[in-house]
């Protein structure tokens, strides 16, 4: 059954959500029709989860309106949204594992008589209900006795029972195997046939194509497109997710062919079972190796292996031709590596420490416990790198948490530059920072390359990757699937490599 045209069941218009200085959603439109599966796509930080939280009542929007069946609504909390007919099922089933299936289905609204729960009635109703979903199980057994897929279906059944108009599936398939996914999809198709509007969030593109009618793509808090999937290719979707969006004041040409120096680091068959298939790669002095791939492709995992955050279980690492052992970050730092992690707040910034201390901390860690940098040296180092990177802070003794995201990112970059590194890994260096700072970071990366540093830069912004990379490594399904050089370092060929178009075509 195809999606019906007409008044959308759920219609969000011009939704704005601001957190502090950061605009998470800048006027996003989204509409859902009855009887369609509508996929919502976007990289980390694109605004997917913020939008969902607004549609399900967990957040209140700062601007825009939400219409349900054409009438404006505003939800105090998810419970109220549920009352209006919007139910949500998350990746982690949030039911009560040690209660029976039947109890889970009717928890909070058990049929009672004289204040007593009518167990029999609950159980027979539960059986009837689950039969609609093709589940014939013992509803008296504890929920935890069943597989995640069954629990997922129970959660869906409960959500549909409670709400019945709109169902939000937030990464429901992440922990399911192939057969279980199919079973779940059958359930979803069935619900679609019953006329529910279903929002489907996942980062598995093949599942999007298999199940969805339309797709909405978000990037950097804005809607890129809403289109029927029929007629779209994987490459189109990838391009919209990663493609040009921010205008960068840099020239794209010539970098791929820029001169590079001697081999600085070599990773040979570096891998970790269950995380990343072994990869072999060298990075030279004065070279930026860009890394492209979708969320979950293994791009961050590679960086973590290189830096010893996760210990590799195969392969070796050579620095200037000599083997080094890197089993933890301290050893990586000793080998002259630096790593600006993707999640600045969690893995990078010491919020309560001063700007100065944040800058000198890695150097101090390398020097050890007893060779303390004296205050004069600290002030000098912090001053030098703050100036070189144009870190804007009232003074360097203020807590770094008071700086903007872009300045915090530059503080972390300064931390590693102060170490005079051999090799620098940047994971999404421009995420969550404003456009001006964005371009500045890109310029800085280019300058560091020109000064002879070897860099490994992960980014989901293709224009950005192209702007500074000599070579681009493409990751898919936790495997390095392509290494693009020369003219192939261009958004189109990267998109095709990510989308899985055969490498031969890419080379042409």
């Amino acid at each position: 059954m195809q999606a019906t045209e007409g008044v959308p069941v759920l219609d969000a218009r011009g939704i704005v959500k601001v957190f502090g200085q950061h605009t998470a959603l800048g006027g996003v439109d989204f509409d859902l029709r009855a009887g369609e599966v509508h996929a919502l796509l976007g990289e980390n930080g694109a605004g997917k989860s913020t939008l969902i939280k607004i549609l399900t009542g967990a957040y209140q929007p700062d601007g825009g309106t939400v219409l349900l069946d054409g009438a404006p609504v505003s939800f105090r909390d998810p419970l109220q949204a549920q009352g209006y007919g919007i139910g949500t099922v998350y990746q982690e089933v949030n039911l009560l594992p040690n209660r029976s299936v039947a109890e889970n289905l009717f928890l909070g609204r058990q049929p009672t008589r004289f204040g007593l729960v009518r167990r029999r009635e609950i159980e027979s109703r539960a059986r009837t209900l689950l039969a609609d979903y093709g589940l014939e199980i013992d509803v008296r057994a504890e929920l935890s006795e069943y597989s995640v897929a069954v629990q997922q279906i129970v959660a869906i059944a409960r959500a549909v029972e409670l709400s019945g108009k709109v169902l939000v599936l937030d990464e429901p398939t992440a922990s399911l195997d192939r057969n279980e996914v199919q079973r779940l999809f059958d359930v979803v198709r069935n619900l679609k046939a019953r006329g529910l509007g279903i929002i489907f969030i996942t980062h598995f593109l093949d599942q999007v194509f298999e199940l969805s009618d339309r797709v909405t793509i978000l990037r950097n808090g804005r809607k890129i497109a809403t289109q029927p999937l029929a007629g779209l290719s994987t490459a189109d979707v990838v391009r919209m997710m990663l493609g040009k969006d921010v205008s960068l004041d840099h020239h794209v040409t010539g970098i791929a062919d820029a001169a590079r120096g001697a081999t600085r680091v070599t990773f040979r068959d570096l891998g970790r079972t269950g995380s990343v298939a072994p990869i072999t790669l060298s990075v030279h002095e004065g070279e930026v190796v860009g890394v492209a791939g979708l969320l979950g492709s293994g791009r961050t995992e590679v960086a973590r292996l290189m830096f010893g955050v996760d210990a590799a279980d195969s392969g070796e690492i050579l620095v200037d031709g000599a083997p080094v052992t890197i089993r933890n970050p301290a050893q990586a730092v000793a080998a002259g590596f630096g790593f600006c992690p993707e999640d600045r707040k969690i893995d990078g910034i010491f919020g309560d420490l001063s700007v100065r201390e944040n800058i000198i901390i890695a150097l101090q860690a390398k020097l050890g416990w007893f060779r303390a940098l004296n205050r004069e040296d600290q002030v000098e180092l912090a001053g030098r790198y703050a100036e070189a990177l144009d870190i804007r802070a009232a003074n360097h003794d203020m807590p770094v948490k008071l700086l903007s995201g872009g300045n915090q990112q530059k503080v972390i970059l300064a931390r590693w530059l102060a170490l005079d590194p051999n090799f620098l890994i940047l994971d999404e260096p421009t995420r969550g920072i404003d456009v001006g700072a964005h371009a500045e970071i890109v310029r800085t990366i280019n300058r560091l390359r020109e000064e002879g540093l070897a860099l490994f830069v992960i980014s989901s912004e293709l224009d950005e990757v192209v702007a500074y990379s000599n070579r681009v490594v493409v990751m898919r399904d936790r495997e390095m699937v392509a290494e693009l050089t020369g003219a192939a370092v261009a958004p189109d060929s990267i998109v095709q490599a990510i989308a899985g178009v055969p490498a031969v075509e890419v080379a042409q």
């Binding site: 001697a262 955050v309 010491f350 101090q364 416990w369 001053g383 030098r384 005079d420």
Partner: protein
Amino acid sequence: MTRPTVELRPAHEPPGHRHRPWAEALLRPQFLALAAVLLVNWLLFPGFFTITWQDGRLFGSLIDVLNRGAPVAILAIGMTAVIATKGVDLSVGAVMAIAGAVAASMVVAGWPAGLAVLAALAVGLVCGLWNGVLVTVLQIQPIIATLVLMVAGRGLAQLVTEGSIVTFSDPLLIFIGTGSVLGLPTPVVIALSLMLCATLLVRRTALGLLIEAVGVNRSAARFAGIRASALLLLVYAFAGLCAAIAGLIVTGDIRGADANNAGLWLELDAILAVVIGGTSLLGGRFSIPMSVVGAMIIQAMNTGILISGFSPEFNLVVKSGVIIVILVLQSPMAASILQKRRIKGGRA
């Protein structure tokens, strides 16, 4: 080989706050609280500030405050470092009992006192390392990890003393508990020296900064190449060592190792001293001297209650009331209100 160099330009030193003026430091809520408690003590007992010279040592209520506060101050020195890493050590009271029991049993069994003291310190160190291993290697939450030794440690101490108070007359142990150096009680001299050494150690080396970094953000510390596990081991071992020193003092003081009662609940006083001193239980910035001031505030209160003549049923009520006032005074909200008033005052 070309090394990347970022263009060097002359550094501008930002307007620094290098040395706080002493006057401002003394206006911290902790010093005000200490002064207030001492003042109340003086009002309750006019002879409170009287200090006399007797039998070759200083004698007076103020000296009692320092002397009785020394064990908690010493515990607080070790506890400060642990709390700065976002941890906590509940076992220090029990470790005090173990250390005292070991020292007392050894001198009673005829070992040289010096060796007994070293053994007690070593046992404290081992207890601290044990906590550290539970926290770092087994990754147990500090409050649970140290709870193990808090409960089991007292049992260990009782095993060592066989359930009774092991009394001794060894001059070295008695000197540690009740002797005097240049007129000051030995415990006071030990606590002050330890405070100075520990403060110099953490501030003249990088240890202080690295401990704060681990406490503020352990994950970021790992990414920055800080060997957080080794640092945590060190910090817990130091707390164990401090506990052993405190245990020797209380054992020497009563000339006996009382496994049931030595250090009982003192871990809570030590945590309170650290918190009063301004170190957050969420880790990060810490000050060892301020924790010692915190310990002195607690003891000044205890001594005040003793000499006030109130019925003992009021002890806990009075104590908790004063502590609430102190904690409110140094809460962020009070700080911002004070700041506003200061700005207003400046404009007026």
